[in-house]
C-alpha cells in the first residue's frame, strides 16, 4: 500500500515536470508565440487568484470581495523593487515580500473582520480593498493615478509554472489536511464546528492569510509581465472578476477554478475581434452556464484521473447497452 502511494506520488511529480518541459519546448520552438504566452500568463495568474479565493470563499465559506486589494499589494511591492533594482533575484525577493505583506495585511484585517458573517464580511473586505486602492492612489512612491510603468519583464514560463503549480499543490494539500477539514466544517455549519471544539476564528484567519499570500504572488507575477499597473486595475470589478471564475468553476472545487480560468480566457480571447458584441456575448454565456449549472461547472467535485476512469466505464456501459 505504501509503495503504491509512493509510485502514485512519483507519477504526479513526473506529470508536473513533463507539462513544464513540453510547454517550454513549444516556447523555444516558437510554436507558442508571444500572444499565446500572454494568454497563458493571464490564465495562470487567474488560476492562482481563483484557487486562493476558492480556499476563502469555496472551502471556508467566507464571502470575500477584497481579493484584488491583496493582489495590488503584491503587484506594487514587486513593481517598486524591480524598478529600483532590475534583476531576476530582486524579482523573486519582491514577489515574496509582496506576498508576505499581503498575508500580513490579511492577518491584520482578517482578525477583526472574520468575526463578521456573510454580507457584513463581504462589505468589510470590500472596504479594505478600496482603502488599499486609495492609499496607492495618493502615495508618491506609487505615482498616484498615473500608475507605474514597470518596463521590465521577469515573469516567464518557469516562474509562472512554479508558482501556479505551487499554489494549487499548497491549497489542495491544505484542504486535504486536518486544518482544511476544519475549514470545510466551518463552511458547513459554523456553530456545529465550534461545538466540536474547532477554533473557528483561527481557521478562518489561516485560510484568509493563505489566500492573501497567493493573491500577492499573483499580483507580483502580473506586475512583472504586463509592464504597467495603476490603482484602478485593482478595484471592485477585479475582485468580482475573480469571484466569477470561482463561482463558475464551482465553489469548493479547485479543478473547477482551474477549468473556469481556462474557459473564460479562451472565451475572452475569441471575442477580441468582435468588440461591438463582446461584452454581450460574454455576459450571455455566463448567464447560460449559470442557468444550466447553477452549482458551477464542477460543483464541489474534483476532476481527477479516477474521475476520467469512472466516466470511461459509464461510456463503456452505454456502448454495451446499444449493442
Amino acid at each position: 500500500m505504501n509503495k503504491l502511494a509512493e509510485i502514485k506520488g512519483i507519477k504526479k511529480w513526473f506529470a508536473l515536470l513533463l507539462t513544464y518541459v513540453i510547454v517550454q519546448l513549444l516556447v523555444s520552438l516558437n510554436i507558442i508565440n508571444d500572444y499565446i504566452m500572454a494568454t497563458i500568463t493571464t490564465i495562470c495568474i487567474n488560476i492562482i487568484l481563483a484557487v486562493s479565493l476558492n480556499l476563502i470563499t469555496g472551502f471556508t465559506g467566507q464571502f470575500s470581495l477584497g481579493h484584488a486589494g491583496f493582489m495590488s499589494i503584491g503587484a506594487y511591492t514587486c513593481a517598486i523593487i524591480i524598478m529600483r533594482y532590475p534583476s531576476p533575484l530582486s524579482f523573486i525577493i519582491g514577489l515574496f515580500l509582496g506576498a508576505i505583506l499581503a498575508a500580513l495585511l490579511g492577518f491584520i484585517v482578517g482578525l477583526p473582520t472574520l468575526r463578521l458573517r456573510g454580507d457584513y464580511l463581504a462589505i468589510a473586505t470590500l472596504g479594505m480593498a478600496e482603502i488599499i486602492r486609495f492609499v496607492f492612489l495618493n502615495l508618491d512612491i506609487t505615482n498616484g493615478a498615473a500608475g507605474l510603468f514597470v518596463g521590465v519583464q521577469y515573469t516567464n514560463w518557469l516562474w509562472l509554472y512554479v508558482f501556479t503549480a505551487g499554489t494549487v499543490i499548497l491549497i489542495t494539500n491544505f484542504v486535504n489536511s486536518s486544518h482544511g477539514r476544519a475549514c470545510i466544517s466551518i463552511r458547513e455549519d459554523e456553530i456545529a464546528a465550534e461545538a466540536m471544539g474547532i477554533n473557528t476564528t483561527k481557521y478562518k484567519v489561516i485560510a484568509f492569510i493563505i489566500g492573501a499570500f497567493c493573491a500577492g504572488i499573483a499580483g507580483a507575477l502580473y506586475a512583472s509581465y504586463f509592464y504597467f499597473i495603476k490603482p484602478d486595475l485593482f478595484g471592485f470589478l477585479k475582485s468580482i472578476d475573480i469571484l466569477v471564475i470561482v463561482v463558475l468553476g464551482g465553489l469548493g472545487s479547485i479543478s473547477g477554478s482551474i477549468l473556469a480560468a481556462f474557459l473564460l480566457a479562451i472565451i475572452s480571447s475569441l471575442l477580441q475581434s468582435f468588440p461591438e458584441i463582446r461584452m454581450v456575448i460574454y455576459s450571455v454565456l455566463l448567464i447560460v452556464i449559470m442557468l444550466f449549472r447553477p452549482q458551477g461547472i464542477m460543483g464541489s467535485k474534483e476532476l481527477s484521473l479516477s474521475a476520467f476512469k469512472s466516466l470511461g466505464s459509464i461510456f463503456e456501459r452505454k456502448n454495451g447497452g446499444e449493442r
Binding site: F149, F228, I266
Partner: protein, 382 residues
C-alpha cells in the same frame, strides 16, 4: 451532455473561423488596439471612427503605392494588460507593420515594450502624459510615437495666453488632485504664469466625482483675482462653472482639453458659459480648407459633429500611412525611420513635425465660449 456537446461544437467553429484570416502580398496590415468597451470606451470609439474614415479615404484613393490598407481591429476593454496581450497578437499572429492606439496613456505605455522588442512602431492619437515617449531616465522609447501634444505644453500655453491675451496678473487654480492630468497641468500653468509676471493667489483642489464646490468658491470669492484656471475634466468643471457664476464670480475661466465635451454645456447651462477659454487639439471654427473638408466628410459619414478624438484619430491614421508611403521597405524599422523623419505633416489638428523625443511639434488652439457656443479660436504655435 448533449448541451455540452453543442457548446463544444460552437467553440470549434468559432476557432476555425478565426484561424482562417491569412494575409496576402497586396495589402498592408495595420493594427488597431483601442478601448472599445470598459471605462474609457468613448475615447476609443471616437478615435476609431476617425481612423476608419481616414483609412477608407486612403483606400478609395488607391491605397499606398497600390496596396490596400487592411485594418485589424481589437478591443482592449480599457485594460493595460489586455493592450499588451493584443499588441502581441497583432504583431505575432496578424503580422501588422504598425499599430494605432490605445487612446489612454497607461494602456499605450503598456504596449510600448512589446513594440520595442518586436521592432514594430506604435502610435497614439491621444496619449498626452508627459512621460509616454521618454522613459523616466530620459531615454527615448524607440518605437513609440504620438500626434498629440503633451499635458505640460497645454499648461504652458494657457499661462501665456492668460498673461498676454487676457492681461491677467492674478490667478486662482482649482485643480483635480485625483488625476495626474490635473496635477501636471496645474504645475505647468503655475510655473509659467509666475514666469510671465503673474501671481497665484490661491490653489484649491477637488477630487473627481465631487459635486458641491460652494465651499471652495465661497473661499475664493473674497479674493482679488483676474482668472480661474481649472485643470480637470468636463464633469466637475461644468459644475464648478455653474456654481461660480451663481455665486456671482464673473472672472474668465480657463481650462484644458478636458473641457471638450457637449456634457460641459449640459452641466453648466448656456448662460453660465461666458468668458470660458480652453486649450484644445483642434477647433471646428477653423477656416482651414482641410479642416472644413474633414468636418463636412465626417458629418456625411457619421451624421454628427466631429470631436477632438475623432480629429486626432483621423490624423493618426493619416500620419502613419504617410510614413508607410515614404518608408523604403515595408517593415517596422523603415517605417519607424520614416515616422522620425516626418516634417510638416498637414493634419486636421495642425501641421506637425516629429522632434527628437518622438513628440509632435504642432500648434495648439485656444477656444473661447460665449453663451455655451464656440465663438473664437486662437492658434498658438510652439
Amino acid at each position: 451532455m448533449k448541451r455540452l456537446l453543442t457548446l463544444c461544437v460552437c467553440f470549434l467553429i468559432a476557432v476555425t473561423l478565426i484561424g482562417c484570416s491569412k494575409g496576402n502580398q497586396n495589402e498592408i496590415r495595420i493594427g488597431i488596439n483601442y478601448e472599445l468597451s470598459g471605462g474609457v470606451a468613448t475615447y476609443g470609439q471616437s478615435s476609431v471612427e476617425g481612423i476608419e474614415m481616414a483609412i477608407e479615404e486612403i483606400n478609395n484613393a488607391g491605397g499606398i503605392n497600390g496596396k490596400k490598407i487592411v485594418p485589424i481591429k481589437y478591443d482592449n476593454k480599457s485594460e493595460p494588460a489586455e493592450a499588451t496581450t493584443l499588441a502581441n497578437k497583432l504583431i505575432t499572429q496578424d503580422k501588422v507593420v504598425a499599430i494605432l492606439g490605445p487612446a489612454t496613456s497607461g494602456s499605450f505605455k503598456a504596449e510600448i515594450p512589446v513594440a520595442n522588442a518586436n521592432k514594430i512602431p506604435v502610435a497614439s492619437g491621444s496619449a498626452t502624459a508627459d512621460d509616454v515617449t521618454v522613459t523616466s531616465d530620459g531615454k527615448v522609447q524607440e518605437y513609440a510615437f504620438r500626434v498629440c501634444f503633451n499635458d505640460s505644453f497645454q499648461g504652458t500655453v494657457m499661462a501665456n495666453f492668460a498673461a498676454d491675451n487676457l492681461s491677467a496678473k492674478k490667478a486662482v487654480i482649482i485643480m483635480d488632485s485625483s488625476s495626474d492630468y490635473g496635477k501636471g497641468l496645474a504645475k505647468n500653468f503655475k510655473d509659467n504664469f509666475v514666469k510671465a509676471g503673474g501671481s497665484i493667489v490661491a490653489e484649491e483642489a477637488y477630487v473627481a466625482g465631487d459635486t458641491d464646490f460652494n465651499a471652495i468658491l465661497t473661499k475664493i470669492k473674497g479674493l482679488d483675482f483676474d482668472v480661474i484656471y481649472i485643470p480637470g475634466y468636463y464633469n466637475e468643471a461644468g459644475l464648478i462653472i455653474k456654481q461660480a457664476r451663481a455665486q456671482g464670480i464673473t472672472a474668465p475661466v480657463l481650462g484644458a482639453d478636458g473641457f471638450d465635451s457637449p456634457v460641459l454645456l449640459e452641466l453648466a447651462g448656456a448662460e453660465a458659459l461666458n468668458d470660458i477659454y480652453f486649450t484644445n487639439h483642434y477647433s471646428s471654427l477653423d477656416k482651414d480648407p482641410a479642416v472644413v473638408k474633414f468636418i463636412e466628410d465626417f458629418k456625411a459619414k457619421y451624421n454628427k459633429e466631429p470631436d477632438a478624438f475623432n480629429a486626432l484619430g483621423y490624423d493618426l491614421a493619416k500620419f502613419v500611412c504617410d510614413a508607410i508611403a515614404r518608408a523604403e521597405k515595408l517593415d517596422g524599422e523603415s517605417i519607424k525611420k520614416a515616422l522620425e523623419e516626418t516634417e510638416n505633416f498637414v493634419g486636421v489638428t495642425g501641421t506637425l513635425s516629429v522632434d527628437e523625443y518622438h513628440n509632435p511639434v504642432k500648434s495648439i488652439v485656444v477656444i473661447g465660449l460665449e453663451n455655451g457656443v464656440q465663438t473664437s479660436s486662437v492658434k498658438i504655435s510652439p
